[in-house]
Subunit: 509 residues, 2 copies
């Protein structure tokens, strides 16, 4: 097509941005519908409510692949055109184009069949998990894997097929990079774990075994969020079975947590974790509102923010020097005989276990590597679905020294694969690595970092993260963010050092 | 156009119903967005949130006037066609056609200008009310009245122009009917009010002047809703500045109330009132879900349900015979010296006042008649906007014997006119009349009605209302409902009798 005039391009760009804003508005509505379904929507309305969510979600997809969108993208990505756009517009268009091309490559009826399949598979997975019946789930998972591979072939990929999926969750990530960082990590933390297990010096956790009042737990969660400078004029805290954070827009980023009567650390660290996610979304720059860049840049960077607050800050010795008195005061009489050191060691207890979501910050990464290796093999065609349970159990024995007695507490424990979310798990481990690497920069730039934490002086930390990471939303890629922040690409060494230093201290190794 | 085959008509009908369902789904999303904004959405997100509401609302309007909708309606309302549809489809199409024709008669740019005007006017009205400055609001109100009259001319009307507006809120209502029923009502309740005022026997309300714990108020609100058989699996109770009920779908009908520390009757009767609205929406038949008939048939019938529960049941002697002990128990020590009779008389205290929303069930109707007469005159061109304050004050003196010292507590008190909602006020008084007429039928059919209330045996009452009224949604018109229920058209005599009987008793006249 012939080159358009500047005025015509401006008009196309304005039309494009209006369409994207509309999609974001629909996404905000869907976000609220989900939040409501999880926090307290009456159960008899849920069937109709699901149809509302389905209708609006379908409409978002329709807009994303509409002729209108196609027309704008054709003009705005014409040779020489993209480079002339301002940085935000250029990045917006690039993201839309990628999404548009990906969606357009899948025949609509195949995509529809896949949506139905994964929807059924989730129900079947739940039944299989409840009945410890992998065979029930197996044919569904086989179809999901086969369809995923088919889609990858349509989308195209560099190197191995699994790279295509990694790139979707973490732009720029591939097997080569991951194998390297995970390899380095495993090599050092497996021996560290063995040392810890052999230590005679295990933390005392017995004092956690008492009843902690729910309202008091909630008061403390609210207190800690205020200390983190979570903005309650741009958010709220509610209760759900599974904690989450959801950014409807930067002025409305909600957190949920859950309160276990006999374990206050669940709500406490769940709240701090989700608070870390929420700080990211609350601090995205105002000029990205209403664009497709108004969200965290990747799952991995997002997780780095939640894990930074949960572990680097929230499970540090300094943090509890500052806040343990307040915690004792909050649960008056219940922690009087427990000193800060005992408490600190208890919340940093390491123990190999079968269940990922209950794992500590050291072994968590091993849970992820197992999943990474298995799904990589599945997608690249190196193992079959039928072989998964055995392979799973073998790896657990190898890496963690534990072995599931049932598939329910083994290969069936996570929902992800039933929804076709292959390539997602590595983001969790990336989050740990990014968090440690970011912390290293923080400590270098601010030698007083630990003093700040120990004084509860968290504002400069929150502001630095907002300035370095949050404000950019999706304008920078994960690679660009980590390079800009730390001066080097992803490097697992920081996490290794962090874990070694911390746990040698906790366990007196 | 030539007549379509049965198969083609079926296809058109299916397409039409799908479009209507989609509109309902959007309405549910908008309903939730509003509920959320009022119950606790963080304030910094509200600007973006308003845009989301605007976008989805605009989309609903677009669908309602779309060529797609026009095409379906043309086929389905073709000569002879409508009569062949089943009752639900026929009524759906009739409603859509009326809405479509009305919307299409207004030029889009004029409608857009009107939306902007009323949006600005509401802000100006608020400022005018706060500063007691009617002159500030006057030019906006003039424009709104002029535009409304212009729209009425485009829509068309029978008799006088104001009829067009009445019919929008209460299908089938007109000035002739209203003048008659309001005339009859006024003729009897103005003397009754004078008698009451002259009575030496005024209720003691002094015991309400103490602090009532908010949580205890809430507990009692929840208790009473359960007694009314409000279904908490299909609803929830929250707190807002202005109480409301919202039916997102029959499985999700939410209530809000407010708790005043020094007046427990505000939350109590507010909750029962909104509970009455909610029972209506919870009990609409399942086969109307997803249709444009899945809502109350009119504002007036809706209000009859809330007022029935609030006043006929909730302010009756029998109700408190059953529940006063529970109330005393709930506010332990605070009502020990107040017997049920004193309480009953206190909650049925009559006093002419300036403010509609604080009025009792007797004088409320006079507040409405004043507004009715004024807006009727405005729309029919008998008075000018500039004359409103004086006319308002004169009528208050005449009907209620009180006179506003300022326009803020006079003509500026209500938001309605700033939004162009002329014709809405009468619905409130119709609600009182319908409620009394329905109660009369109930008492005739069930001589044990009062015993049921006095025993807290509310289930058969709730079920009868669901069976007679709620299940039909908008399938029957208000006229049809009241005729079916009571065997005669709207008759103000029942309200007059109800008020005379009750207040002669309360005031010992």
């Amino acid at each position: 097509m012939s080159r358009l005039s500047q005025v015509e391009v401006e008009a196309q760009l304005a039309g494009y941005k209006k369409l994207v804003r509309k999609m974001k508005q629909y996404e905000e509505a869907v976000g609220l519908l989900y939040w409501d379904m999880r926090t307290g929507a009456p159960k008899k309305g849920l069937e109709t409510r699901s149809e509302v969510v389905g209708e609006l979600s379908t409409e978002i997809f329709r807009m994303s692949v509409s002729d209108e969108m196609g027309g704008y993208l054709e003009v705005l990505t014409a040779p020489g055109q993209l480079e002339e756009l301002d940085a935000i517009s250029r990045k917006m268009v690039t993201e839309s184009k990628k999404e548009y091309d990906e969606s357009k490559k899948i025949p609509p009826d195949e995509y529809q069949a896949y949506v139905v399949l994964t929807s059924q598979a989730e129900t079947i997975w739940e039944e299989a998990k409840n009945n410890n019946d992998f065979k029930l789930f197996e044919p569904y998972l086989e179809k999901i894997v086969a369809t995923t591979i088919k889609f990858i072939d349509l989308w195209g990929y560099e190197g191995v097929k699994y790279n295509c999926l990694l790139d979707m969750y973490e732009r720029g990530m591939n097997v080569e990079k991951l194998d390297k960082v995970f390899g380095a990590l495993r090599e050092r933390i497996v021996p560290l774990l063995k040392q810890i297990q052999a230590s005679p010096n295990h933390p005392d956790r017995s004092f956690l075994n008492q009843q902690f009042d729910k309202d008091k737990q909630k008061q403390f969660s609210l207190f800690i969020l205020r200390e983190m400078i979570y903005d309650f004029d741009a958010g709220r805290l509610d209760e759900t079975a599974h904690p989450f954070a959801t950014g409807l827009n930067p002025g409305d980023v909600r957190i949920t947590t859950r309160f276990l009567p006999n374990d206050p650390t669940s709500a406490l660290f769940g709240t701090i974790h989700e608070g870390g996610h929420a700080l990211y979304e609350q601090n995205i720059a105002a000029d990205l509102i209403g664009t497709n860049l108004c969200t965290g840049t990747s799952m991995g960077i997002h997780e780095s923010q939640s894990l930074f607050w949960e572990n680097v800050v929230g499970r540090s010795r300094g943090f509890w020097e500052r806040y343990y008195g307040e915690l004792q005061q909050n649960f008056k009489g219940q922690l009087d005989d427990v000193n800060v050191d005992t408490f600190y060691r208890a919340i940093n207890h390491i123990e190999p276990s079968l269940i990922r979501i209950e794992a500590d910050e050291l072994t968590y990464n091993l849970h992820i590597m197992i999943r990474y290796e298995l799904e990589k093999s599945l997608i690249n065609g190196d193992i079959k679905v039928a072989d998964l349970p055995e392979a799973w159990n073998a790896k657990y024995k190898d890496y963690l020294g534990v072995e599931p007695a049932t598939d329910s507490e083994g290969v069936l424990q996570d929902v992800h694969w039933s929804g076709g979310a292959f390539g997602y798990f590595p983001s969790y481990a990336l989050g740990y690595m990014y968090a440690a690497q970011i912390t290293n920069t923080l400590r270098k730039q601010f030698p007083e970092f630990d003093d700040w934490v120990a004084a509860g002086h968290l504002l400069p930390i929150k502001e630095w993260l907002a300035d370095q990471i949050h404000q950019y939303g999706k304008l920078l890629t994960p690679d660009e963010i980590i390079l800009k922040v730390s001066g080097e690409p992803l490097n697992p060494e920081y996490l290794i050092q962090y874990l070694e230093n911390k746990y040698k201290h906790v366990y007196g190794l």
